[in-house]
Point group: D2
Chain length 147, copies 4
């Protein structure tokens, strides 16, 4: 995993991991942190029947949960150690039904800034071993600094 970005905080992996551990919703849905590189974060989610909408596909809100966090932590990985990260807004496009045995949200920073970051994520479904892109997200994140 090569990256075009460098983190200003050598401890960025531990920082992302600690914050992810505090997102209690991730335990509820069974999501785990995957690859963490500067400006690039992946989140893994096995399919579960209790995460679905009326057609037994992953609910778009659950897709959003791991895609938003993948965007957020991709941005967070590039922030100075004292910053907090906040999502301002995001947009998701649902390209195909989120069916499959396993899902992976792949977040990457498109444009870093001092306070405003733009990040994107893709949701990949593993369907009988085949990889399918099922959703894309673009989001705006904010670095919040202590007063």
């Amino acid at each position: 995993m090569s990256s075009q970005f460098q983190s200003r905080d050598p401890a960025f992996k531990a920082r992302v991991s600690a914050s992810f551990g505090e997102q209690s919703v991730m335990q509820l849905i069974g999501a785990t942190l995957g690859t963490v590189e500067p400006g690039h974060v992946e989140i893994e989610l096995p399919y579960r029947a209790d995460l679905t909408q009326q057609d037994n596909f992953l609910h778009a809100g659950i897709s959003s949960t791991i895609m938003d966090s993948a965007c957020g932590y991709a941005a967070f990985s590039l922030m100075p150690a004292e910053a907090r990260v906040l999502t301002i807004e995001f947009k998701i496009n649902l390209l195909a039904p989120a069916a499959g045995q396993h899902f992976r949200a792949v977040g990457s920073v498109r444009k870093p800034g001092r306070s405003v970051f733009v990040a994107e994520s893709e949701l990949h479904a593993s369907v009988d071993g085949e990889d399918r892109l099922v959703a894309t997200m673009v989001g705006t994140l904010m670095a919040v600094y202590p007063d």
Copy 2:
């Protein structure tokens, strides 16, 4: 609750309620169906610590879960009985931290169509009895008809 729309299906409330009952994720997070009127659907969600992000606010993905379904069922309430509803895309703006004891997603149709619907939802938080608007969503939904 007056509405500017009329449903083409007199059984729209039962139809929305049955479909909502099949969204197993709603049981996981503890969400329940509230008001259902033509083109207008509300979803209720009590705060739970296991639905949160790292700052103990409702995770934006959980907010999205109930706001997307509020949009979707608002559109679904206006569709003919044989149609299925599909979210194509949505955008959420997070106006304030989703803190509070109770949340209500209020979805309403902005523009109905034969196949494409535009709907909006607001997320209201109840904070010590006070109502606060914490997020807005706009989404595009599609009516899918049997062949």
Copy 3:
């Protein structure tokens, strides 16, 4: 025109008007500034055949031009006198073809902040004297302060 907002700058109307006058694209397309109230700005645009796409409707980019500026100046009207306004992102939903003799973009602030503002705008078309909502926008604006 009542408003829920108060401007911190008593000269906000002159400030909006001066900045609008510097948007040279507005002269190119024939747009003029309409109502300016705290957190609320309207922009008027008569139909012209040279603003259209292949079906003789107003091009979505021209709709965006006046809707984005309506959002931006609605936010700008609430900012302190020394701030500049910058659009971070916006989303537009095209509800109906932008046909008609006259268009009015109505921008209003949904959530003011110190640095981040969320604003919305509607595009109304006048079609043989009848008012039609043809597009909606939600955008995020930033106040930029001198160092």
Copy 4:
């Protein structure tokens, strides 16, 4: 220019070019059609002072004009000859001020469909010979077929 897509219409280039020629707004702003490949369309725009906002950058609505058409024609290039193309919605993120001597909107289809297409575009500015990415767009397009 290799492409992952194949057009179903061998005359897609002529079809895109003819439709672009009917977008009279393109002549007003001085935009011309560039590369046209299956699922990939570029639009060129030299800087002009009368296309700008108050800081002499290209107005976001003018950026949107060429980016929306780049998305739309990327989708249109993959549609059957009898279809018309309609933008349903788009979102633009402004990553940097649109300064420069020349702009190029690069549109590409992310997900084709029978009726719904998702496309993306990037806006590149040429600044003293250097290429800078200044905006990204994701949009939803619809193929409309004759009755």
